[in-house]
Protein backbone atom coordinates (compact mmCIF):
# COMPACT_ATOMS: atom_id res chain seq x y z
CA UNK A 1 0.00 0.00 0.00
CA UNK A 2 1.55 3.26 -1.08
CA UNK A 3 0.23 6.79 -0.58
CA UNK A 4 -2.62 7.86 1.65
CA UNK A 5 -5.44 5.36 2.13
CA UNK A 6 -8.84 6.13 0.57
CA UNK A 7 -10.50 5.85 3.98
CA UNK A 8 -8.85 5.88 7.38
CA UNK A 9 -9.82 6.07 11.03
CA UNK A 10 -7.73 6.60 14.17
CA UNK A 11 -8.92 6.14 17.73
CA UNK A 12 -12.62 6.38 16.96
CA UNK A 13 -14.84 5.96 20.03
CA UNK A 14 -18.59 6.26 20.46
CA UNK A 15 -21.07 5.35 23.16
CA UNK A 16 -24.84 5.38 23.38
CA UNK A 17 -26.28 6.36 26.74
CA UNK A 18 -23.03 5.64 28.53
CA UNK A 19 -22.61 2.18 26.96
CA UNK A 20 -19.51 2.12 24.75
CA UNK A 21 -20.25 0.89 21.21
CA UNK A 22 -16.90 1.70 19.59
CA UNK A 23 -13.62 1.74 21.55
CA UNK A 24 -10.50 3.11 19.96
CA UNK A 25 -11.12 1.87 16.40
CA UNK A 26 -8.36 2.45 13.83
CA UNK A 27 -8.02 1.10 10.29
CA UNK A 28 -7.08 1.94 6.71
CA UNK A 29 -8.89 1.13 3.47
CA UNK A 30 -6.77 1.19 0.31
CA UNK A 31 -8.16 2.96 -2.75
CA UNK A 32 -10.24 0.62 -4.91
CA UNK A 33 -10.25 -2.18 -2.38
CA UNK A 34 -13.20 -3.96 -0.81
CA UNK A 35 -13.30 -4.29 2.97
CA UNK A 36 -15.91 -6.45 4.65
CA UNK A 37 -16.73 -5.71 8.27
CA UNK A 38 -17.78 -8.90 10.03
CA UNK A 39 -18.82 -9.62 13.59
CA UNK A 40 -21.71 -10.60 15.80
CA UNK A 41 -24.76 -8.37 16.22
CA UNK A 42 -23.99 -5.55 18.63
CA UNK A 43 -20.26 -5.62 17.97
CA UNK A 44 -20.35 -2.07 16.59
CA UNK A 45 -20.12 -2.79 12.84
CA UNK A 46 -23.10 -0.67 11.83
CA UNK A 47 -22.15 2.20 14.16
CA UNK A 48 -18.67 2.24 12.63
CA UNK A 49 -20.17 2.48 9.14
CA UNK A 50 -22.61 5.19 10.25
CA UNK A 51 -19.68 7.19 11.63
CA UNK A 52 -17.99 6.96 8.22
CA UNK A 53 -21.27 8.14 6.64
CA UNK A 54 -21.41 10.95 9.25
CA UNK A 55 -24.85 9.86 10.34
CA UNK A 56 -23.30 9.47 13.79
CA UNK A 57 -20.67 11.74 15.32
CA UNK A 58 -17.82 9.94 17.09
CA UNK A 59 -16.98 11.22 20.56
CA UNK A 60 -13.27 10.79 19.99
CA UNK A 61 -11.03 10.02 17.07
CA UNK A 62 -10.44 11.29 13.57
CA UNK A 63 -11.54 9.86 10.24
CA UNK A 64 -10.66 10.80 6.70
CA UNK A 65 -11.74 10.06 3.17
CA UNK A 66 -9.84 10.85 -0.03
CA UNK A 67 -7.59 13.46 1.54
CA UNK A 68 -10.35 15.22 3.51
CA UNK A 69 -11.01 15.06 7.22
CA UNK A 70 -14.52 13.81 7.94
CA UNK A 71 -16.71 16.45 9.55
CA UNK A 72 -13.80 18.73 10.45
CA UNK A 73 -11.45 21.20 8.93
CA UNK A 74 -7.95 22.01 10.20
CA UNK A 75 -7.45 25.69 10.87
CA UNK A 76 -4.95 27.50 13.10
CA UNK A 77 -3.61 24.38 14.78
CA UNK A 78 -7.04 23.04 15.72
CA UNK A 79 -9.86 20.99 14.23
CA UNK A 80 -13.11 22.87 13.68
CA UNK A 81 -16.50 21.29 13.05
CA UNK A 82 -17.72 21.79 9.48
CA UNK A 83 -20.86 23.89 8.98
CA UNK A 84 -23.97 21.97 7.86
CA UNK A 85 -23.61 23.00 4.22
CA UNK A 86 -20.01 21.76 3.89
CA UNK A 87 -20.96 18.60 5.74
CA UNK A 88 -23.71 17.96 3.19
CA UNK A 89 -21.26 18.44 0.34
CA UNK A 90 -18.78 16.09 1.99
CA UNK A 91 -21.46 13.39 2.25
CA UNK A 92 -21.61 13.38 -1.56
CA UNK A 93 -18.25 11.59 -1.52
CA UNK A 94 -19.68 8.55 0.24
CA UNK A 95 -22.58 6.59 -1.21
CA UNK A 96 -24.62 4.78 1.42
CA UNK A 97 -26.74 1.66 0.94
CA UNK A 98 -29.07 1.00 3.86
CA UNK A 99 -30.36 -2.27 5.24
CA UNK A 100 -33.94 -1.02 4.76
CA UNK A 101 -33.25 0.55 1.29
CA UNK A 102 -34.82 3.92 2.26
CA UNK A 103 -35.89 4.78 -1.28
CA UNK A 104 -37.93 7.98 -1.50
CA UNK A 105 -41.48 6.63 -1.50
CA UNK A 106 -43.06 9.45 -3.51
CA UNK A 107 -40.64 9.14 -6.43
CA UNK A 108 -40.29 6.54 -9.17
CA UNK A 109 -37.13 4.43 -9.37
CA UNK A 110 -35.77 6.76 -12.07
CA UNK A 111 -36.52 9.92 -10.05
CA UNK A 112 -34.88 8.35 -6.98
CA UNK A 113 -31.67 7.90 -8.97
CA UNK A 114 -31.90 11.40 -10.52
CA UNK A 115 -32.74 13.32 -7.34
CA UNK A 116 -29.19 13.76 -6.04
CA UNK A 117 -27.49 14.78 -9.28
CA UNK A 118 -30.32 17.15 -10.29
CA UNK A 119 -31.36 18.73 -6.98
CA UNK A 120 -28.07 18.68 -5.07
CA UNK A 121 -25.43 18.86 -7.80
CA UNK A 122 -27.53 20.95 -10.16
CA UNK A 123 -26.56 18.96 -13.24
CA UNK A 124 -28.66 19.19 -16.43
CA UNK A 125 -31.75 17.00 -16.21
CA UNK A 126 -31.50 15.40 -19.69
CA UNK A 127 -27.90 14.30 -19.15
CA UNK A 128 -28.70 12.96 -15.66
CA UNK A 129 -31.70 11.06 -16.98
CA UNK A 130 -29.58 9.31 -19.62
CA UNK A 131 -27.05 8.36 -16.97
CA UNK A 132 -29.70 7.25 -14.50
CA UNK A 133 -31.32 4.99 -17.08
CA UNK A 134 -27.89 3.50 -17.87
CA UNK A 135 -27.34 2.88 -14.13
CA UNK A 136 -30.76 1.25 -13.76
CA UNK A 137 -29.88 -0.91 -16.75
CA UNK A 138 -26.62 -1.88 -15.06
CA UNK A 139 -28.50 -3.10 -11.97
CA UNK A 140 -30.97 -4.91 -14.25
CA UNK A 141 -33.96 -2.66 -13.63
CA UNK A 142 -34.28 -0.46 -16.73
CA UNK A 143 -37.75 -1.93 -17.25
CA UNK A 144 -38.80 -0.79 -13.75
CA UNK A 145 -37.69 2.85 -14.14
CA UNK A 146 -41.27 4.17 -13.91
CA UNK A 147 -42.23 2.09 -10.87
CA UNK A 148 -42.64 3.47 -7.36
CA UNK A 149 -40.73 1.75 -4.52
CA UNK A 150 -43.95 0.20 -3.15
CA UNK A 151 -44.35 -1.56 -6.51
CA UNK A 152 -40.88 -3.14 -6.34
CA UNK A 153 -39.66 -6.19 -4.41
CA UNK A 154 -37.09 -5.73 -1.66
CA UNK A 155 -34.27 -6.92 -3.88
CA UNK A 156 -35.31 -4.56 -6.67
CA UNK A 157 -35.54 -1.64 -4.22
CA UNK A 158 -32.06 -2.39 -2.94
CA UNK A 159 -30.64 -2.43 -6.47
CA UNK A 160 -32.31 0.94 -7.18
CA UNK A 161 -30.77 2.21 -3.93
CA UNK A 162 -27.33 1.14 -5.14
CA UNK A 163 -27.93 2.94 -8.45
CA UNK A 164 -29.07 6.04 -6.52
CA UNK A 165 -25.82 6.07 -4.54
CA UNK A 166 -23.66 5.45 -7.63
CA UNK A 167 -25.35 8.29 -9.54
CA UNK A 168 -23.43 10.81 -7.41
CA UNK A 169 -20.11 9.20 -8.45
CA UNK A 170 -18.96 8.74 -4.86
CA UNK A 171 -15.34 8.10 -3.96
CA UNK A 172 -16.45 5.25 -1.71
CA UNK A 173 -19.54 3.11 -1.26
CA UNK A 174 -20.72 2.09 2.20
CA UNK A 175 -23.08 -0.88 2.57
CA UNK A 176 -24.94 -1.48 5.83
CA UNK A 177 -26.08 -5.12 5.83
CA UNK A 178 -27.55 -4.64 2.35
CA UNK A 179 -29.05 -8.14 2.09
CA UNK A 180 -30.26 -8.66 5.68
CA UNK A 181 -33.82 -7.47 4.99
CA UNK A 182 -34.22 -9.47 1.76
CA UNK A 183 -35.93 -12.73 0.97
CA UNK A 184 -33.43 -15.45 -0.02
CA UNK A 185 -34.26 -15.28 -3.75
CA UNK A 186 -33.35 -11.57 -3.98
CA UNK A 187 -30.05 -11.81 -2.10
CA UNK A 188 -28.19 -13.24 -5.09
CA UNK A 189 -29.29 -10.40 -7.42
CA UNK A 190 -28.10 -7.73 -4.99
CA UNK A 191 -24.78 -9.49 -4.31
CA UNK A 192 -24.21 -9.78 -8.08
CA UNK A 193 -24.66 -6.01 -8.44
CA UNK A 194 -22.28 -5.39 -5.53
CA UNK A 195 -19.72 -7.71 -7.15
CA UNK A 196 -19.97 -5.64 -10.35
CA UNK A 197 -19.51 -2.41 -8.38
CA UNK A 198 -16.42 -3.89 -6.70
CA UNK A 199 -14.98 -4.89 -10.07
CA UNK A 200 -15.47 -1.34 -11.39
CA UNK A 201 -12.82 -0.24 -8.87
CA UNK A 202 -14.94 1.72 -6.39
CA UNK A 203 -13.65 1.60 -2.80
CA UNK A 204 -16.18 -0.35 -0.75
CA UNK A 205 -16.80 -0.89 2.96
CA UNK A 206 -19.42 -3.61 3.44
CA UNK A 207 -20.99 -4.55 6.76
CA UNK A 208 -22.43 -7.98 6.11
CA UNK A 209 -23.33 -11.41 7.37
CA UNK A 210 -22.79 -12.94 3.90
CA UNK A 211 -19.60 -14.90 4.57
CA UNK A 212 -19.49 -16.40 1.06
CA UNK A 213 -19.62 -12.92 -0.44
CA UNK A 214 -16.90 -11.67 1.92
CA UNK A 215 -14.66 -14.62 1.12
CA UNK A 216 -15.11 -14.15 -2.62
CA UNK A 217 -15.09 -10.36 -3.04
CA UNK A 218 -13.33 -8.79 -0.04
CA UNK A 219 -9.68 -7.83 -0.11
CA UNK A 220 -9.58 -7.41 3.63
CA UNK A 221 -11.77 -8.35 6.55
CA UNK A 222 -12.25 -6.25 9.66
CA UNK A 223 -13.57 -8.50 12.40
CA UNK A 224 -15.25 -6.59 15.21
CA UNK A 225 -15.84 -7.83 18.71
CA UNK A 226 -17.22 -5.77 21.60
CA UNK A 227 -16.68 -2.43 19.86
CA UNK A 228 -13.06 -3.02 18.86
CA UNK A 229 -11.42 -4.42 15.78
CA UNK A 230 -10.32 -7.85 16.95
CA UNK A 231 -8.73 -8.80 13.66
CA UNK A 232 -7.75 -6.87 10.53
CA UNK A 233 -6.47 -9.32 7.93
CA UNK A 234 -6.47 -10.13 4.22
CA UNK A 235 -9.64 -12.06 3.40
CA UNK A 236 -7.84 -15.31 2.47
CA UNK A 237 -5.91 -15.27 5.75
CA UNK A 238 -9.00 -14.48 7.79
CA UNK A 239 -11.02 -17.36 6.36
CA UNK A 240 -8.15 -19.87 6.11
CA UNK A 241 -6.51 -19.17 9.45
CA UNK A 242 -8.39 -16.70 11.69
CA UNK A 243 -5.90 -15.25 14.14
CA UNK A 244 -8.11 -14.11 17.01
CA UNK A 245 -10.04 -16.46 19.32
CA UNK A 246 -13.21 -14.40 18.75
CA UNK A 247 -12.86 -14.72 14.94
CA UNK A 248 -12.36 -18.46 15.25
CA UNK A 249 -15.46 -18.80 17.45
CA UNK A 250 -17.48 -16.62 15.06
CA UNK A 251 -16.47 -18.57 11.96
CA UNK A 252 -17.01 -21.92 13.67
CA UNK A 253 -20.52 -20.86 14.77
CA UNK A 254 -21.36 -19.40 11.35
CA UNK A 255 -20.28 -22.55 9.53
CA UNK A 256 -22.20 -24.87 11.85
CA UNK A 257 -25.33 -22.72 11.33
CA UNK A 258 -25.30 -22.31 7.58
CA UNK A 259 -26.74 -19.16 6.08
CA UNK A 260 -29.79 -20.17 4.01
CA UNK A 261 -28.81 -18.08 1.02
CA UNK A 262 -25.45 -19.83 0.83
CA UNK A 263 -26.73 -23.37 1.11
CA UNK A 264 -29.98 -23.30 -0.86
CA UNK A 265 -28.71 -21.30 -3.82
CA UNK A 266 -27.52 -23.80 -6.47
Amino acid sequence: MTGAPAIWARGVAKSFGGAPVLRDVSFDVARGSVVCVLGASGSGKTTLLRCLAQLETPERGVMGIEGELLGHVERGGALHKLPARSLALQRLRTGMVFQRFNLFGHMTALRNVMEGPVTVQGRPRAEVEREALALLDKVGLAHRAGHYPAQLSGGQQQRVAIARALALRPAAMLFDEPTSALDPESVGDVLAVMRAVAESGVTMVVVTHELAFAREVADRVLFMDGGSIAEDAPAETFFAAPGHPASRAFLAAALSRPNPSETIAP
Binding site: L55, A84, A88, R91, F98, F104, T119, V120, Q151, L168
Partner: protein, 283 residues
Protein backbone atom coordinates in the same frame (compact mmCIF):
# COMPACT_ATOMS: atom_id res chain seq x y z
CA UNK B 1 -57.94 -37.95 1.42
CA UNK B 2 -61.58 -38.63 2.12
CA UNK B 3 -60.77 -42.22 3.06
CA UNK B 4 -59.55 -41.25 6.50
CA UNK B 5 -63.03 -39.98 7.52
CA UNK B 6 -65.67 -42.26 8.97
CA UNK B 7 -68.26 -40.94 6.47
CA UNK B 8 -67.89 -39.70 2.91
CA UNK B 9 -66.89 -36.11 3.61
CA UNK B 10 -66.72 -35.17 -0.07
CA UNK B 11 -70.47 -35.79 -0.38
CA UNK B 12 -71.20 -33.81 2.79
CA UNK B 13 -69.06 -30.87 1.59
CA UNK B 14 -70.84 -30.91 -1.77
CA UNK B 15 -74.22 -30.82 -0.03
CA UNK B 16 -73.12 -27.83 2.09
CA UNK B 17 -71.83 -25.98 -0.97
CA UNK B 18 -75.16 -26.39 -2.72
CA UNK B 19 -77.12 -24.75 0.13
CA UNK B 20 -78.31 -21.17 -0.58
CA UNK B 21 -76.90 -18.41 1.64
CA UNK B 22 -79.61 -16.23 3.22
CA UNK B 23 -78.96 -12.86 4.77
CA UNK B 24 -80.46 -11.95 8.09
CA UNK B 25 -83.10 -9.24 7.65
CA UNK B 26 -81.56 -5.87 8.64
CA UNK B 27 -84.18 -4.87 11.22
CA UNK B 28 -81.83 -2.33 12.80
CA UNK B 29 -81.40 -0.49 9.48
CA UNK B 30 -85.12 -0.46 8.75
CA UNK B 31 -86.08 0.86 12.20
CA UNK B 32 -83.36 3.52 12.39
CA UNK B 33 -83.95 4.74 8.81
CA UNK B 34 -87.68 5.08 9.49
CA UNK B 35 -86.98 7.04 12.69
CA UNK B 36 -84.58 9.41 10.94
CA UNK B 37 -87.03 10.06 8.09
CA UNK B 38 -89.87 10.75 10.55
CA UNK B 39 -87.78 13.18 12.64
CA UNK B 40 -86.49 15.00 9.52
CA UNK B 41 -90.02 15.28 8.12
CA UNK B 42 -91.17 16.75 11.44
CA UNK B 43 -88.38 19.36 11.44
CA UNK B 44 -89.01 20.31 7.81
CA UNK B 45 -92.71 20.63 8.58
CA UNK B 46 -91.99 22.84 11.59
CA UNK B 47 -89.85 25.15 9.47
CA UNK B 48 -92.41 25.18 6.66
CA UNK B 49 -95.32 26.03 8.97
CA UNK B 50 -93.27 28.26 11.34
CA UNK B 51 -92.93 32.01 11.29
CA UNK B 52 -90.74 31.94 8.19
CA UNK B 53 -91.51 34.01 5.15
CA UNK B 54 -89.74 31.94 2.51
CA UNK B 55 -90.00 34.70 -0.07
CA UNK B 56 -87.56 36.73 2.07
CA UNK B 57 -85.11 33.86 1.88
CA UNK B 58 -85.43 33.89 -1.90
CA UNK B 59 -85.19 37.66 -2.08
CA UNK B 60 -81.98 37.92 -0.04
CA UNK B 61 -80.25 34.73 -1.22
CA UNK B 62 -78.47 36.64 -4.01
CA UNK B 63 -78.57 40.11 -2.46
CA UNK B 64 -75.37 42.06 -3.32
CA UNK B 65 -74.48 42.56 0.34
CA UNK B 66 -74.82 38.82 1.03
CA UNK B 67 -72.68 37.91 -1.99
CA UNK B 68 -70.06 40.50 -0.95
CA UNK B 69 -70.13 38.85 2.47
CA UNK B 70 -69.57 35.44 0.86
CA UNK B 71 -66.56 36.86 -1.00
CA UNK B 72 -65.18 38.35 2.24
CA UNK B 73 -65.68 35.01 4.04
CA UNK B 74 -63.84 33.07 1.35
CA UNK B 75 -61.05 35.67 1.15
CA UNK B 76 -60.56 35.64 4.92
CA UNK B 77 -60.63 31.82 5.07
CA UNK B 78 -57.96 31.56 2.37
CA UNK B 79 -55.71 34.29 3.83
CA UNK B 80 -55.99 33.10 7.46
CA UNK B 81 -55.39 29.51 6.35
CA UNK B 82 -52.31 30.58 4.33
CA UNK B 83 -50.93 32.50 7.32
CA UNK B 84 -51.70 29.51 9.55
CA UNK B 85 -49.86 27.15 7.19
CA UNK B 86 -46.73 29.30 6.98
CA UNK B 87 -46.50 29.97 10.73
CA UNK B 88 -47.62 26.41 11.50
CA UNK B 89 -44.83 24.93 9.39
CA UNK B 90 -42.34 27.06 11.29
CA UNK B 91 -43.83 25.86 14.60
CA UNK B 92 -43.71 22.20 13.53
CA UNK B 93 -40.08 22.43 12.42
CA UNK B 94 -39.19 24.39 15.57
CA UNK B 95 -40.98 21.87 17.78
CA UNK B 96 -38.89 19.05 16.27
CA UNK B 97 -35.64 21.01 16.29
CA UNK B 98 -32.77 19.68 18.32
CA UNK B 99 -31.94 23.14 19.68
CA UNK B 100 -33.66 24.43 22.76
CA UNK B 101 -34.79 27.92 21.72
CA UNK B 102 -37.01 27.05 18.73
CA UNK B 103 -38.40 24.01 20.53
CA UNK B 104 -39.49 25.95 23.60
CA UNK B 105 -40.75 28.88 21.56
CA UNK B 106 -43.02 26.51 19.62
CA UNK B 107 -44.25 24.79 22.76
CA UNK B 108 -45.04 28.13 24.44
CA UNK B 109 -46.75 29.52 21.31
CA UNK B 110 -48.97 26.46 20.90
CA UNK B 111 -49.80 26.47 24.61
CA UNK B 112 -50.84 30.14 24.52
CA UNK B 113 -52.78 30.25 21.26
CA UNK B 114 -54.59 26.96 21.82
CA UNK B 115 -55.41 27.89 25.38
CA UNK B 116 -57.23 31.18 24.77
CA UNK B 117 -60.64 31.37 23.01
CA UNK B 118 -60.47 32.60 19.41
CA UNK B 119 -63.12 35.24 19.98
CA UNK B 120 -61.00 36.69 22.80
CA UNK B 121 -57.92 36.71 20.54
CA UNK B 122 -59.89 38.56 17.85
CA UNK B 123 -60.97 41.19 20.37
CA UNK B 124 -57.38 41.61 21.62
CA UNK B 125 -56.04 42.22 18.10
CA UNK B 126 -58.90 44.58 17.31
CA UNK B 127 -58.24 46.59 20.47
CA UNK B 128 -54.45 46.44 20.28
CA UNK B 129 -54.30 50.24 20.23
CA UNK B 130 -55.13 50.16 23.95
CA UNK B 131 -51.69 48.67 24.65
CA UNK B 132 -49.66 49.92 21.70
CA UNK B 133 -51.10 53.29 20.63
CA UNK B 134 -48.48 53.57 17.88
CA UNK B 135 -46.72 50.94 15.81
CA UNK B 136 -43.72 51.35 13.55
CA UNK B 137 -40.08 50.66 13.04
CA UNK B 138 -37.43 53.01 14.43
CA UNK B 139 -36.29 55.27 11.59
CA UNK B 140 -39.17 54.32 9.32
CA UNK B 141 -41.76 56.42 11.10
CA UNK B 142 -44.78 55.46 13.15
CA UNK B 143 -48.52 55.18 12.54
CA UNK B 144 -51.47 55.10 14.87
CA UNK B 145 -52.43 51.51 15.67
CA UNK B 146 -56.15 52.19 15.22
CA UNK B 147 -55.47 53.13 11.59
CA UNK B 148 -53.59 49.89 10.91
CA UNK B 149 -55.69 47.42 12.89
CA UNK B 150 -58.57 47.35 10.46
CA UNK B 151 -61.20 44.64 10.93
CA UNK B 152 -59.53 42.74 8.07
CA UNK B 153 -56.03 42.74 9.62
CA UNK B 154 -57.37 42.01 13.12
CA UNK B 155 -59.38 39.06 11.82
CA UNK B 156 -56.46 37.81 9.73
CA UNK B 157 -54.04 37.89 12.67
CA UNK B 158 -56.57 36.57 15.16
CA UNK B 159 -57.76 33.66 13.02
CA UNK B 160 -54.46 32.93 11.25
CA UNK B 161 -52.19 32.93 14.29
CA UNK B 162 -54.67 30.83 16.25
CA UNK B 163 -54.96 28.42 13.34
CA UNK B 164 -51.14 28.20 13.17
CA UNK B 165 -51.06 26.53 16.59
CA UNK B 166 -53.38 23.75 15.42
CA UNK B 167 -51.73 23.38 12.01
CA UNK B 168 -48.34 23.26 13.73
CA UNK B 169 -49.43 20.22 15.70
CA UNK B 170 -50.92 18.55 12.60
CA UNK B 171 -47.74 19.13 10.60
CA UNK B 172 -45.58 17.92 13.48
CA UNK B 173 -47.52 14.66 13.45
CA UNK B 174 -47.05 14.44 9.68
CA UNK B 175 -43.30 15.05 9.87
CA UNK B 176 -42.92 12.52 12.68
CA UNK B 177 -44.79 9.89 10.69
CA UNK B 178 -41.98 9.81 8.12
CA UNK B 179 -39.38 7.12 8.74
CA UNK B 180 -35.96 8.33 9.99
CA UNK B 181 -34.42 6.41 7.10
CA UNK B 182 -35.88 8.95 4.67
CA UNK B 183 -33.98 11.79 6.42
CA UNK B 184 -30.80 9.73 6.44
CA UNK B 185 -31.11 8.78 2.77
CA UNK B 186 -31.68 12.44 1.91
CA UNK B 187 -28.61 13.45 3.93
CA UNK B 188 -26.52 10.79 2.20
CA UNK B 189 -27.26 12.24 -1.24
CA UNK B 190 -25.91 15.56 0.02
CA UNK B 191 -29.10 17.35 0.98
CA UNK B 192 -29.16 19.94 3.74
CA UNK B 193 -31.99 19.81 6.28
CA UNK B 194 -34.02 22.45 4.46
CA UNK B 195 -33.78 20.79 1.05
CA UNK B 196 -34.54 17.37 2.55
CA UNK B 197 -37.61 18.81 4.24
CA UNK B 198 -38.88 20.41 1.04
CA UNK B 199 -38.04 17.64 -1.44
CA UNK B 200 -38.33 14.42 0.56
CA UNK B 201 -40.11 14.78 3.89
CA UNK B 202 -42.94 17.27 3.29
CA UNK B 203 -44.21 15.68 0.05
CA UNK B 204 -44.57 12.36 1.87
CA UNK B 205 -46.01 13.93 5.01
CA UNK B 206 -48.72 15.54 2.82
CA UNK B 207 -50.42 12.16 2.52
CA UNK B 208 -50.93 12.12 6.27
CA UNK B 209 -51.76 15.79 6.84
CA UNK B 210 -54.15 16.59 3.97
CA UNK B 211 -57.25 15.04 5.60
CA UNK B 212 -56.85 16.91 8.92
CA UNK B 213 -55.83 20.11 7.07
CA UNK B 214 -58.98 19.88 4.93
CA UNK B 215 -60.90 19.59 8.16
CA UNK B 216 -59.18 22.72 9.48
CA UNK B 217 -60.02 24.65 6.30
CA UNK B 218 -63.70 23.70 6.64
CA UNK B 219 -63.58 24.80 10.27
CA UNK B 220 -61.94 28.06 9.23
CA UNK B 221 -64.76 28.93 6.82
CA UNK B 222 -67.22 28.71 9.69
CA UNK B 223 -64.82 30.31 12.18
CA UNK B 224 -64.69 33.50 10.07
CA UNK B 225 -68.26 34.15 11.28
CA UNK B 226 -66.67 35.13 14.63
CA UNK B 227 -65.03 38.08 12.83
CA UNK B 228 -68.52 39.58 12.56
CA UNK B 229 -67.93 40.61 16.20
CA UNK B 230 -65.13 42.95 15.15
CA UNK B 231 -66.99 44.49 12.22
CA UNK B 232 -65.41 42.35 9.50
CA UNK B 233 -68.08 42.36 6.76
CA UNK B 234 -68.41 38.62 6.15
CA UNK B 235 -71.68 36.77 5.45
CA UNK B 236 -73.06 36.60 8.98
CA UNK B 237 -72.16 40.22 9.70
CA UNK B 238 -73.97 41.42 6.59
CA UNK B 239 -76.95 39.13 7.22
CA UNK B 240 -77.23 40.56 10.76
CA UNK B 241 -77.14 44.10 9.42
CA UNK B 242 -80.07 43.25 7.17
CA UNK B 243 -82.17 41.66 9.90
CA UNK B 244 -81.48 44.52 12.31
CA UNK B 245 -83.30 46.63 9.70
CA UNK B 246 -86.11 44.30 8.59
CA UNK B 247 -86.37 41.91 11.61
CA UNK B 248 -86.52 38.80 9.35
CA UNK B 249 -84.02 37.05 11.64
CA UNK B 250 -84.63 33.40 10.81
CA UNK B 251 -84.88 34.07 7.06
CA UNK B 252 -81.49 35.77 6.93
CA UNK B 253 -79.88 33.14 9.14
CA UNK B 254 -81.11 30.54 6.64
CA UNK B 255 -79.60 32.60 3.80
CA UNK B 256 -76.25 32.80 5.63
CA UNK B 257 -76.36 29.13 6.56
CA UNK B 258 -77.04 28.19 2.95
CA UNK B 259 -73.87 29.93 1.75
CA UNK B 260 -71.64 28.46 4.49
CA UNK B 261 -73.01 25.06 3.55
CA UNK B 262 -72.33 25.69 -0.15
CA UNK B 263 -68.73 26.79 0.50
CA UNK B 264 -68.06 23.66 2.53
CA UNK B 265 -69.80 21.44 -0.03
CA UNK B 266 -67.57 22.71 -2.84
CA UNK B 267 -64.48 22.23 -0.69
CA UNK B 268 -64.96 18.55 0.13
CA UNK B 269 -64.45 17.18 -3.44
CA UNK B 270 -61.45 19.50 -3.80
CA UNK B 271 -59.93 17.90 -0.71
CA UNK B 272 -60.59 14.47 -2.18
CA UNK B 273 -58.79 15.45 -5.42
CA UNK B 274 -55.83 16.78 -3.46
CA UNK B 275 -55.64 13.58 -1.41
CA UNK B 276 -55.46 11.52 -4.58
CA UNK B 277 -52.78 13.78 -6.00
CA UNK B 278 -50.46 13.50 -2.98
CA UNK B 279 -50.91 9.76 -2.51
CA UNK B 280 -48.79 8.92 -5.56
CA UNK B 281 -46.45 6.03 -4.87
CA UNK B 282 -48.61 4.38 -2.23
CA UNK B 283 -50.43 1.18 -3.01
Amino acid sequence: MTGSFSYDFAEEAERLCALPVRRRPAWGHIVSATLIVVVCAWIVRAFALGQIEWRYVGAFLFAPSILRGLGATLLMSACAMALGLVVGLGLAVGRLSSSLVPRWFSIAYIWLFRGVPVILQLLVWFNLALIFPHVGLPGLGEVRTVDVMTPFLSALLGLGLNQAAYIGEILRGGLQSIDRGQYEAAEMIGMTRGVALRRIILPQAMRVVIPPLGNEFINMIKLTSLASMIQYPEILHNAENIYYANTRVMELLIVAGFWYLMAVTVLSPLQHLLERRVSRGSL
